[in-house]
Amino acid sequence: MTNTTTPDAAESRAPEDDSLQTRGRTRSRLTQNAQPRWQWLVVLAVSAVLGSALSALIGFNVAGWLIFTAVLHVVITYVITLTRVNRRRATDQLWRNLIFIAFLIALLPLVSVIWSVVSVGVPGLLAPGFLSSDMQGITGTVDEASQTEGTAVLGGIRHAIIGSLVITVAATVISVPIGLLTSIYLVEYARGGLLSRAITFFVDVMTGIPSIVAGLFAGAAMAWFLGTLNAVTGLFGSMSSTMGITAAVALSVLMIPVVVRTTEEMLRVVPNELREASFALGVRKWRTILKVVIPTAVSGIASGVTLAVARVIGETAPILVTAGYVVNTNWNLFQGWITALPVYIYRQFVNPTSPAFSEPSHQRAWAAALVLIIIVMLLNLIARIIAKVFAPKTSGR
C-alpha cells in the first residue's frame, strides 16, 4: 500500500545507505531505498499515541485526536523518508498521504449523514401508522401530548409519499417522450447543423438551471396559462396555479436535460452496422429506430431514466414554490395543493406542527428523510441493476 517498487534510479547513489548496511543486510542498489512495508502502520500507531497525548493537553475530543493523528502521520512519514531516502521520495510520500487523507475526509460526511439519519430516523419510522396515515387531525395539542406525556407520536407520511409519487410520475411522463425524441433527433436525424449544435449546447446549459428557478418558471407559466385559458373560455377562473401539475412541469424542466444526455450517449454507442443492415433490408428509418436502435439501447435508456427520476424525487425547492403544503392526501394533480416528501421534511423542520413542542415534528421529519434516502438509494440501485442485467451481452457469439 505504501511503497511503489519504482526505483529511484537517478538518486539511488545517495549516501544514506550506511544505516542499511550496518544492519548486516546487503541490498542491491535497486532496492536499497525501499522502505519496509510495515512502516506506515508503525508511523500511524506512533502518531495516534502522540496525537491522543497532544489533544489531551487541550481537552480531549475525537475530532481533535483525529486531526492531530493525521497531521503527525503526514509529518513523521515525510521526515523519516527525507532522512532515510531523499527529498523527492519524501515529497512523493507526502502527497500520497495527503491524497489518502482527502479520500477519508470525503467519506466522513457520507458516513455522518447516513448514520445520523438512520439513528434518529428509525424510531420515527417504527412509530405506529407512520407510513399508512397522513397528517389530518394532527394538531399542536396532539404533539404536545406526545412530548409531555409520552404518548405515541401520531401522524405520518402517506400523503407525502403519494404526492411525491404522483408528481414524479407526471414529470416522467412529460420528460421521457420529449427527452427521448430529442436525443433521437440529435443522433439519427441531425447532421451537425446549427440547430443540433444549439440544442446540444442549450441542453448542457439547462442541466445547470437552479432548481428554484425552474419552480419560479413553472409557477409563472402556469399562472399565465390559466389566465389566458380563462380569458378565452371563461371556464377556469377558479383554478389556482398552485397544484401538482405545476410542480411536475417544474421537475420536467430539470429532468429533460438529464434524459436527453443519457439517452443520447446510449443511442450513440449503438453500432452503425446495425442501422445499415436494417436499411439494406429495406426497412424504413422510423421502423429501424423503433425496432433496432432503441431495443439495442433500451437498458441504458431505462437506467438513465431511473437515475433522472432519482434526481428529481429529492428536489424540494421547485415543489415548495409550486405545489404548496397540505395535511391530507390529494391524488388530484389538477386540483388543490399537494405535499411531496421533501417538502414535508422541510416544513416539519421549519414550521413544526406545534412550535413549542417540536420534538414529534422533528421525529417525523427524520423518519421521512430516512424514507426519502431509502427511495433514492433504491432507485440508484435499480438503475445499476437494469444497466447490468439488461445490457447487451458481452460474449456468447
Binding site: 519504482t6 529511484d8 475530532a63 512523493d92 502527497w95 500520497r96 495527503l98 491524497i99 479520500f103 475526509i105 460526511p109 457520507l110 455522518s112 449523514v113 445520523s116 439519519v117 434518529v120 417522450p177 420529449i178 427527452g179 425524441l181 430529442t182 433521437i184 433527433y185 449546447f201 441542453v203 439547462m206 442541466t207 445547470g208 438551471i209 432548481s211 428554484i212 428557478v213 425552474a214 419560479l216 407559466a221 399562472a223 424542466v253 454507442v269 452496422e273 436494417s278 429495406g282 426497412v283 424504413r284 421502423r287 431495443p295 424540494t316 425547492a317 415548495l320 414554490v321 421534511i345 422541510y346 423542520f349 434516502i373 438509494m377 447487451p392 451481452k393 458481452t394 456468447g396 457469439r397
Partner: protein, 338 residues
C-alpha cells in the same frame, strides 16, 4: 467504441433485426410493395417531425424560462407611482448576491482540493479492483437529497462546529472574517459553505476523475521509466493534461453551489450582510426565494421582487455554466491529438 461492444450488441439484437423486415413484407403481401411504402413514408415524416419538434420544444422551454421570469419581474423595477425603481431593487438584491457568492466561494475553496485528491485517489492510487466501488460510494454523496443535507447541517454539523467557531473567534478574531460574536447555534454562512462543499464535491470529483483516467498511458509510463516518482509523474503528465477538465469541474460545482436552495435555507439563519463568517447573518438568493415565495401573495410586488432575483440567479448560473462548457469544448478539440 470498442470492438467487443460492437459484436455483442449485434448478436443480442439479431432477432429483432431479422424480425422487422419479415413482418413488414408479410403485412404488405408480395406485390403490395408500393402501398406499404407510402405508409412508411408517412411514418418516416411523422417520426422525423416529432423528433425535430421535441428538439425545438427544448429550445422553446429555455426561451420561455427567460421570457416568463423577465415579464413577471417587471413590477420589481417599475412602480405605478414612482416610475423606475431600479435603485431600490439593486439595494435589495446586492447583499443577497454577495451572500450567495460568499457561500459558494467557501464551498469551492473547501471542496476543490479534497475533490481533486479523491479523483486522483480513484484514478491513480486506489487498487484497480477497488476503484470502481469507490467511485460508486462517492457518487452516493451526489444522490443524497439536498433537504437531507440541510437537516444534517442544521441538527448535527452546526452544533458540532460551535466550539470551533468560538476558538476561531478567540484566536483569530483580529481577522474581519472571524470578528463578531460567534453564533451560539452554529447556523452561519461558514456552516452553509461547508454543507455546500460536501454537495459539490462529487461533481468536481467525477469530472476530474473522468479526465484523469484519460491521460495518455504512454506519457505516464514514459515519466515513470525516466525515474519519476508517482507524484512527479502526476504533476508532469496528469495535471497538464487535465487542467481544463479540473477547471470545468470547478465551474460546474460553482453552478450547483450558486443554485443550491434547501441546504442553505435550512442551515443558515439569515440576516443582514456581514463580513463575519462565524456570526449569524448573510443570506443567499435561493434561500431568500424559498423563505419568501410561499408567503408572497400572487401578483404582488414582493413576488415580482423574488422572481427578479431568481432571474438574476439564473443569469449568473447560465454564464458560469456556459463558460464551463466552453472550456470543455475547447479542450475536446485539443485532446483530439491523442
Amino acid at each position: 467504441m470498442a470492438t467487443p461492444d460492437d459484436t455483442s450488441t449485434r448478436t443480442s439484437t439479431d432477432p429483432s433485426t431479422g424480425a422487422a423486415p419479415t413482418r413488414s413484407t408479410g403485412r404488405g403481401g408480395s406485390t403490395a410493395l408500393s402501398r406499404s411504402d407510402s405508409r412508411g413514408v408517412f411514418g418516416d415524416r411523422l417520426f422525423a417531425g416529432l423528433a425535430l419538434a421535441a428538439g425545438i420544444l427544448i429550445l422553446a422551454i429555455l426561451a420561455f424560462v427567460v421570457l416568463f421570469l423577465t415579464l413577471n419581474s417587471g413590477p420589481a423595477v417599475v412602480d405605478d407611482e414612482d416610475g423606475l425603481i431600479i435603485g431600490q431593487f439593486v439595494d435589495y438584491a446586492w447583499p443577497l448576491m454577495i451572500g450567495t457568492l460568499i457561500a459558494s466561494a467557501i464551498a469551492l475553496l473547501l471542496a476543490t482540493p479534497v475533490a481533486v485528491g479523491v479523483a486522483l485517489f480513484i484514478s491513480h492510487y486506489a487498487p484497480p479492483r477497488l476503484s470502481k466501488p469507490i467511485g460508486y460510494v462517492i457518487d452516493l454523496l451526489a444522490a443524497i437529497p439536498s433537504v437531507v443535507y440541510g437537516a444534517w447541517g442544521m441538527s448535527f454539523l452546526a452544533p458540532g462546529l460551535v466550539p470551533g467557531y468560538e476558538w476561531l473567534h478567540e484566536n483569530l478574531g483580529f481577522i474581519p472574517l472571524f470578528a463578531g460574536d460567534p453564533s451560539q447555534t452554529g447556523r452561519t454562512v461558514l456552516t452553509a459553505g461547508i454543507v455546500l462543499s460536501v454537495m459539490v464535491l462529487p461533481i468536481i470529483t467525477s469530472v476530474s476523475r473522468e479526465i484523469f483516467v484519460q491521460t495518455p498511458k504512454l506519457h505516464e509510463e514514459a515519466a515513470l521509466a525516466l525515474g519519476a516518482t508517482r507524484w512527479e509523474m502526476i504533476t508532469m503528465t496528469v495535471f497538464p493534461f487535465a487542467r481544463a477538465g479540473i477547471i470545468s469541474g470547478i465551474m460546474l460545482g460553482l453552478g450547483r453551489a450558486l443554485g443550491e436552495t434547501m441546504a442553505v435555507t435550512l442551515v443558515l439563519s439569515p440576516g443582514l450582510l456581514t463580513a463575519s463568517l462565524i456570526s449569524s447573518g448573510n443570506s443567499t438568493i435561493p434561500a431568500e426565494i424559498a423563505l419568501g415565495y410561499p408567503e408572497a401573495p400572487p401578483g404582488s410586488e414582493r413576488q415580482a421582487q423574488l422572481i427578479a432575483i431568481g432571474l438574476v440567479l439564473f443569469v449568473i448560473t447560465l454564464l458560469v455554466n456556459m463558460v464551463a462548457r466552453w472550456i470543455v469544448s475547447r479542450h475536446k478539440d485539443f485532446s483530439g491529438a491523442n
